[in-house]
Assembly symmetry: C2
Homo-oligomer: 450 residues x 2
């Protein structure tokens, strides 16, 4: 049946926040998710959720709907990367200025908080509703639910249904749709460093811990219960250290003692977890158009990225923020116009962050272990100090500002080329403090003007 | 039920030729196609099939299974491009040497010939069988057929089921599969130039006719019944001349009289055909892996390309030829090895031809109208004459040889860079005959050595 409702597919982080934004616009909202309601059942989603890092764009989008203060207690600030070398030594590399942090948060409670807020505002939440297809000719959407098959004809459909979006699959099958899905050679597995016997964090809680080992790495993010959620990233196959070559506990122990010895001693449940938890794949998705008729893809459904810039969720939240601005500007009856403006504005930005996320994997697993990398960050931090308007490090533009991702990307590439030249000086380690910083800025301004 | 059969999805050109190759290897073959048997029913496939151009790789693959002589009567040689300017003037640009031609052939009869040969050799042909999915865990394939649902567990499955392959869709849904589908901004529509009143060709039959108009074009290929199959390529929307802006007969007439006046006078059924025939989209598909378990994608299913290099069918036929070589080398019980070797060897080549096909669209619709283009072809032909081993024009490598597409691509890029320099001379039109051809070859050899 035809109705005036706005339908959102997906009650995940993006779908729920979108419902909150649209309820605040006074719209009739129904949200459908294929999973059971995690508040009612003990749905096990563990073992495959990398902890997330909330940063500026995410907070800004939460603040706009008055949720910042409710979310803060769930989040732990991380002020930089703590790099663990193979001998157990550590180095701290700040993310930005002393007070700038990204915030570790785990999906479960955060998602519940958003679902509850959406419901409180009057959104109708429907769980265990699997979207089977959207037919763009009839505008009809078909669900499989515990009560059988249901068909709806909503006024508007949002696909916030993630990397394996059903709305997107309908687009792939029905329209002239450009689409790319790309799996990287690495997979990941979730592991845990529990709280110590006396109930404390086993490591510094205010950092993102990285064990960079060239072609692979381990990372750890803190949780409010004083555990760390660890994620091991390895190639699936074909290299000396890869998932394929860890067949039994001896293989596992040998790799951990060899490469992650300090972490190994903090992981009492390693063997159990490793062989119980799934090995998950990492996908990058780019597609266009995001709009077909009255339907719009949003969040991971339109731009799933690899997790290495910590921007997947932040970018999806910013999608909601920007969509909301457009609705405020053009009204909530001009969906065609709003959708068209949205995809035109947003696509170059999500392309840029997808690309940056891919590039950052190499930085995290490899470059951060290079002493030159640390020096490079120091020089950039000094440039930022001296010329806070002219030179903003790329990580800062992406993480601690709401400059558009595409602008950050372009500016970052300029700065990268200049820093490559600066770092090429064989005596840079000795001379970095005597660099002609003004000249560097001038080079950058010249490059920009070209 | 489990059986020892080899299953081929698709009884199109590639599926049928593959069945012929595999029957000659003595295998048990069943072919399933979703369409009805065109020999029994009057299945209308008209209006959306660009005529094809058989060239060296295609002929070689047909010859290997003894079919060349049977196919020749269906094909008309085209020795070059005949360019039609806006005033009705024409220029002929040969494709290669005087005796080198590509052969216009239309899909219908050619496909029937291949299906009949496959059947004669003992392949079991099943029509009106729509593959719904292949389940890679169970190895089971499900068909919808006039007799209801059927499930099979073949020994091996080939997906020769084209650009919208069902086997590939199962891979997209079930495995870690890299996939890209890209629609270009242009669509196409099939039209006809019939034989003249006295039963003759209305234009030179031994050429591929092109009306290049910058952002769009019309082409025409000859048929044995003395008609030409024409294809109009226009952007779907957004430009001065596009499908969206042809809403009625007046729009159509105005565009044809403006841009294709000489053709217009040869097209008595233009108006009827234009509004009856569908406007079809053009897609480029690249994916990997092509293999999952006992299944292999082949032909358009693994690498659908835009039609502008005339290589789609030739490349699919070459797939069959190369697969057959691998079976001869490794035996028909080592499918895993054969499939792995096949995809590793073939993927860089199909990537190269997909890319070339995309680039050639600009050449066809735009560059060929430039007098400099003609001169460039002349200089390259002369280089080829003087140094037949060192300088083979790209078109010749792709069309009149079986050099791997990736090698042709690399060599073509080298030659292109050198020709760009040669053509940059403002006096080239006057001086081309006095060029230092030996020096050009030396430049190329140097570039190659780098």
């Amino acid at each position: 049946m035809k109705n005036n409702e706005v339908t959102i597919l997906g009650a995940g982080l993006i779908g729920s926040l979108l419902a909150i934004y649209l309820k605040r616009q006074g719209l009739d909202i129904s949200v459908y998710d294929k999973r059971p309601d995690t508040r009612k059942t003990k749905y096990f989603e563990g073992g495959r959720s990398i902890n997330m890092a909330l940063s500026y764009r995410g907070w800004k989008s939460l603040e706009k709907v008055g949720l910042k203060d409710q979310v803060l207690p769930l989040a732990i600030p991380m002020y930089g990367r703590k790099i663990h070398d193979e001998h157990g030594g550590t180095t701290f590399i700040p993310y930005g200025k002393a007070d700038q942090a990204i915030y570790s948060i785990s999906r479960g409670k955060f998602n519940q908080l958003l679902v509850e807020e959406a419901e409180r505002l009057g959104a109708n939440m429907h769980f265990e509703h699997l979207c089977q297809q959207v037919d763009f000719r009839s505008g009809q959407i078909t669900f499989e639910s515990p009560e059988g098959e249901k068909k709806l004809e909503p006024q508007v459909i949002f696909g916030a249904d993630g990397a394996y979006s059903a709305l997107r699959m309908s687009m792939i099958r029905q329209i002239r749709f450009n689409y790319k899905q790309e799996y990287i050679s690495h997979g990941y597995k979730e592991l845990t460093i529990p709280a110590t016997a006396d109930g404390e964090f086993a490591m510094d809680p205010n950092a993102l811990h990285i064990w960079p080992r060239g072609k692979f790495m381990l990372i750890a993010l803190p949780n409010p219960d004083k555990s760390f959620t660890c994620t091991l990233f390895l190639p699936f196959e074909g290299t000396k250290v890869c998932f394929d070559k860890i067949q039994d506990e001896r293989d596992l122990e040998s790799i951990f003692r060899n490469y992650f010895d300090d972490a190994y001693h903090l992981m009492p449940d390693l063997k159990q977890e490793f062989f119980r938890n799934p090995t998950s794949a990492l996908i990058n998705i780019e597609c266009y158009p995001w709009v077909q008729g009255n339907s719009l893809l949003i969040g991971d459904a339109s731009h799933a990225m690899v997790p290495f810039y910590g921007q997947g969720m932040n970018c999806g939240f910013e999608d909601c923020f920007i969509l909301n601005e457009l609705i405020e500007k053009y009204g909530d009856s001009a969906w065609n116009l709003v959708f068209e403006k949205f995809q035109k504005k947003r696509k170059p930005d999500t392309d840029a962050i997808c690309q940056l996320a891919m590039e950052n994997f190499i930085e995290m697993r490899d470059s951060v272990a290079d002493p030159k990398f640390l020096l490079r960050k120091k020089i950039e931090a000094k440039l930022y100090d001296l010329y806070p308007k002219e030179w903003i490090p790329l990580y800062t533009m992406v993480t601690f500002s709401d400059m558009s991702y595409s602008e950050a990307y372009a500016q970052g590439k300029l700065q990268e080329a200049i820093m490559d030249k600066v770092m090429a000086d064989p005596l840079i380690t000795e001379n970095w403090n005597k660099l002609d910083y003004e000249d560097i800025i001038n080079q950058m301004e010249t490059a920009k003007a070209v």
